[in-house]
């Protein structure tokens, strides 16, 4: 799912109104189904299809895995590839901590099955820097102190990288709008917005 298309809050407001939710269109029911699928991975006995070969191209490197098709991209990254920079905050697509890039688009890795993104280019926080050279967005978060505990930070940074590529960071209001799928409970929002805007070349 492109987190930008249906903002979290708009989705929740709609979801809270059952009579309207049915008419939201293709986006939300699909999201609900995926959320349920993702949530049920860990509680159902392994009665679905067994492990299958899955190739994930992560940060420019191909990884051959044997995983069940129910495994989310988030769990594949964290538990099979030891790429723990991508965080699990809710496992339901509501917090944005697991945001990664798939072919440059931001997705919630907890709502994405790993088998869905074979042959696509996956970028995680570990793949942003060029050796010791931080990505400009990483450097901006550092310079603007765009975090406190840091748990949401990988998701925030990847969301922000995609936002700039989407050319939607036109002003402060649009940055806030298009970053609203990423929750920061420490509330470092002013510094996050300042960091994103600085990379977008806007004065804060």
């Amino acid at each position: 799912m492109d987190v930008g298309k249906v903002t979290r809050r708009r989705f929740l407001v709609r979801a809270a109104l059952p009579t309207i939710a049915a008419g939201v269109g293709i986006g939300s029911p699909r999201l609900c189904a995926l959320a349920q699928a993702a949530a049920s991975v860990s509680v159902l006995p392994a009665s679905g299809p067994g492990p299958m070969p899955v190739t994930l191209n992560v940060n420019g490197r191909a990884h051959e895995l044997r995983i069940e098709p129910r495994v989310t991209l988030l769990d594949a990254l964290r538990e099979r590839l030891a790429l723990t920079g991508t965080k699990k905050g809710c496992d339901q697509g509501t917090c944005g901590a697991c945001t990664v890039l798939v072919d440059g688009r931001r997705v919630n890795a907890c709502l994405t099955l790993a088998v869905m993104v074979q042959r696509k280019a996956i970028t995680t926080i570990e793949g942003l820097a060029d050796g010791d050279q931080l990505h400009p967005m990483q450097a901006a978060f550092l310079a603007h102190d765009g975090f406190q505990c840091g748990y949401c930070t990988p998701g925030q940074i990847l969301s922000a990288v995609a936002l700039l590529a989407e050319k939607r960071a036109t002003d402060e209001a649009s940055v806030r709008e298009w970053m609203s799928g990423n929750i920061c409970r420490c509330g470092a929002y002013p510094n996050i917005v300042a960091a994103v805007r600085s990379v977008a070349g806007q004065p804060s």
């Binding site: 310079a143 930070t153 970053m179 409970r185 420490c186 002013p190």
Partner: protein, 734 residues
């Protein structure tokens, strides 16, 4: 150049932006055993039996632990009334009855479903008011009552004072639970390192976790080490044990490394919340705006276990009249056991609830007397030398009036002029202001200390320093602050000061990351230890010193009168807000916030501003969106899809943190704590702004659109009714 006040960057910043920072769940390795806790999922029941035979028979299951496996099955921060695994009875939905230990998470999950627990459900004490009824079910039968604490404060002659008042107003206020929602769900690992049992998690106080876990396992404290990974937020929510004791038990029993990772629902169900309050209060004032009497009866839902309830309620009791000098006070603060999720520490620790009532009331007094709310506050705010309701003289450095005046100036300068506020028929703007007070550090005679060791690497001059202090960096940046203080004290570059802080075996006890206390307490400890180490070096002795800092002593409060010395330091705050209310829907947006804080001295200005802005995000949630719902003991909002945390869109574009530096006499370089203060006056400032916009007061938190709309409708009906009675007509005026 001085390091104090400079916005130098955190040393863990690079790891946090590259994904290299390791939080507890990132430490889990597949070869570890995985634990799954079995929750009661029922609010009150007798355990008739636990049959784990089918679970144990499942290949890959190593153990199913129950109460019988726990050497000393009692724990708690203040009152050890909670069991690690319940033996005979469960008292809330998040109680744990068994722990499955298995080779992998999937097997642990499946086995957990095979453990059969037979219960007999019992009647519940569903809320604080009904739990006080004489025939209410008892949550802890042996106590004979559900009352956990009834703290009284009595000062002056309250009845005579009310009789002599020109205006007397009464109102009832309520608040709800608040979920910490630290973004990193509870997780951790445990393992043996030689003979030492190591528990590596996230928490707020290494040495208290150590004390409780050693007691639970009946081990010497020297046989256990607590380590903190990177901590993904805390806000008071990691003050009580959650997964730590389960991990320690699993590894101690199996002698193998174990891991546990709670999902979001387990975290929300499994740890304590901010207390819901029911507050009845009456305020009396003279015509000139002097408030002379406040009577308050506060009843809080403590949930199933004691946690820190008694301390929270005593704090709420001393702040029942807000930050105001008050000759006549009658306060009853009661906290009650119920079969709800336990209530405990959350940023503000009772003060936000007390201020919700107090700051709403003083604004209403001002309106009733047709005096500016700022003037009424200024007339009544604490001054240096004033006496608290508890009979003691306030700690020196009372800055409440200076803080309010600055807030009024900044708000006046920045907020939309009154004439321009109602340009739109349905979108109405209003402004509000509120003051606040909150203690820094532990209160009421609770032992308060912070200990640090500083070792110098020196030859002809001091080249480097290593600071040892077990202070939890929960994201607030305290490790950086402590390094800055030591570097400044020893005139070293920041890079020349290292800190060892995340291992209870390697660093002395700093006390908890709570009560806005670490900059003050741990800061003072490292400052004094640095000076002592330098003196030792100058004397030619080993250049090392361990110093325990103790602040001025506090005392318990007399239960009947409240007499005592509650605190050694206070922080003072004032906030102005501008809101926009859609009067057709009740939807309210906060447009501007001015948040003024006397921080004594900002050791790192960027971090102080970050604490103000970040705390305000939680304050916006507390005031408007975070509606934690419980029905019949069951939590109805166990996910972020139903419990709405503020996003960047919910925050105003204009947040003005104003830092005042009126030095505290004891804090390092004059610093006093500040990290909780922005939550204290915020909700009543918003309520005052909503009143300013609409003429309607909201008495219940959170102020959801439904509640605001209902208040607007009720206010209109009252206006209509009174207008109708004035003109003697039955038709409704426009």
């Amino acid at each position: 150049m001085s390091l104090i006040g400079r916005p130098v960057a955190r040393h863990d910043a690079r790891a946090k932006v590259t994904g290299a920072a390791r939080y507890p769940a990132d430490l889990v390795r597949s070869e570890m055993l995985h634990c799954k806790a079995i929750f009661a999922h029922r609010p009150h029941a007798r355990i008739d039996g636990i049959d784990a035979a089918r679970a144990i028979a499942l290949p890959g299951v190593v153990a199913v632990l129950t109460a019988a496996d726990v050497p000393y099955n009692r724990y708690g921060l203040i009152d050890a009334d909670q069991e690690v695994l319940c033996s005979e009875r469960v008292r809330y939905v998040g109680d744990r009855v068994a722990l499955v230990v298995a080779a992998d998470p999937q097997t642990a999950e499946r086995a957990a479903k095979l453990v059969e627990v037979a219960y007999t459900d019992l009647p519940i004490a569903g809320d604080a008011l009904s739990a006080l009824e004489p025939d209410a079910p008892l949550v802890h039968e042996h106590r004979g009552t559900n009352v956990l604490l009834h703290q009284k404060i009595r000062k002056g002659d309250i009845e005579q004072a009310f009789a002599d008042c020109d205006v007397v107003l009464s109102a009832t206020f309520t608040t709800s639970w608040q979920e910490h929602a630290y973004l990193q769900p509870d997780a951790g690992i445990a393992y043996y390192e030689g003979e030492t049992l190591v528990v590596e998690t996230a928490g707020q106080w290494l040495h208290e976790d150590l004390r409780q876990i050693a007691a639970i396992l009946a081990l010497e404290e020297s046989a256990v080490a607590i380590r903190y990974a990177k901590i993904g937020g805390a806000f008071g929510g990691r003050e009580d044990l959650s997964v730590q004791a389960l991990l320690a038990l699993a590894t101690w029993k199996t002698k193998r490394p174990t891991a546990i990772v709670w999902n979001r629902e387990e975290s929300i169900v499994g740890h304590h919340k901010r207390h819901p309050f029911h507050i009845e209060t009456t305020w009396g004032a003279k015509r000139d705006g002097t408030v002379v009497a406040v009577r308050t009866r506060t009843i809080a839902d403590g949930g199933a276990y004691a946690s820190t309830s008694v301390e929270v309620l005593k704090c709420a009791a001393i702040f029942a009249q807000g930050p105001y000098r008050m000759p006549n006070v009658a306060t009853d603060a009661i906290v009650v056991y119920t079969n709800n999720v336990p209530s405990g520490a959350f940023r503000g620790f009772g003060s936000p609830q007390a201020h919700w009532a107090a700051e709403s009331m003083i604004t209403r007094i001002a309106h009733a007397l047709e005096i500016d709310p700022v003037d009424v506050r200024r007339k009544n705010l604490y001054r240096d030398g004033d006496t608290e309701a508890t009979g003691n003289v306030l700690p020196a450095g009372v800055s409440a009036i200076a803080v309010l005046d600055r807030c009024a100036q900044e708000s006046h300068r920045r907020f939309t002029p009154r004439a321009e506020r109602h340009a739109h028929a349905s979108l109405r703007r209003g402004v509000g202001i509120a003051s606040g007070i909150k203690n820094v550090g532990y209160s009421f005679g609770f032992p308060e200390q912070s200990t640090a060791t500083v070792e110098l690497i020196a030859s002809a001059r001091i080249e480097r320093a290593v600071v040892r202090i077990g202070a939890a960096d929960v994201g607030q940046g305290v490790h950086l602050i402590l390094r800055q203080i030591v570097a400044e004290t020893l005139e070293l570059a920041l890079e020349s000061v290292a800190i060892v802080s995340d291992d209870s075996a390697q660093a002395p006890n700093a006390g908890s990351a709570s009560a806005s206390r670490l900059t003050f307490m741990a800061g003072r400890a490292v400052h004094d230890a640095a000076l002592a180490a330098r003196s030792a070096w100058e004397r030619g002795e080993p250049p090392e010193a361990t110093v325990q800092y103790r602040p001025p002593a506090t005392t318990p409060l007399d239960l009947e009168t409240g007499a005592g010395t509650p605190n050694y330091c206070y922080g003072y705050a004032a906030q102005g807000v501008e809101v926009e209310v859609d009067v057709t829907t009740g939807v309210t947006r906060v447009l501007k916030i001015v948040s003024v804080h006397d921080v004594g001295r900002a050791i790192n200005r960027q971090q102080v501003e970050g604490q103000i802005e970040g705390c305000l995000a939680q304050a916006v949630g507390y005031a408007l969106t975070e509606n934690f719902k419980v029905r019949d003991g069951k939590i109805l909002t166990p996910h972020f899809s139903t419990y709405l945390l503020p996003t960047t869109l919910d925050m105003p574009t204009e947040i003005v943190p104003v830092i005042m530096e009126l030095a505290d006499p004891h804090g390092p370089y004059g610093a006093r704590g500040m990290a909780e203060m922005p939550l204290v006056p915020f909700a009543p400032a918003v309520a005052a702004a909503i009143y300013d916009a609409t003429g309607a007061w909201v008495n219940d938190l959170p102020m959801t659109p439904e509640r605001i709309l209902a208040a607007i409708t009720a206010a209109r009906e009252r206006t209509t009714a009174s207008a109708a009675s004035l003109v003697g007509a039955s038709s409704s005026p426009a």
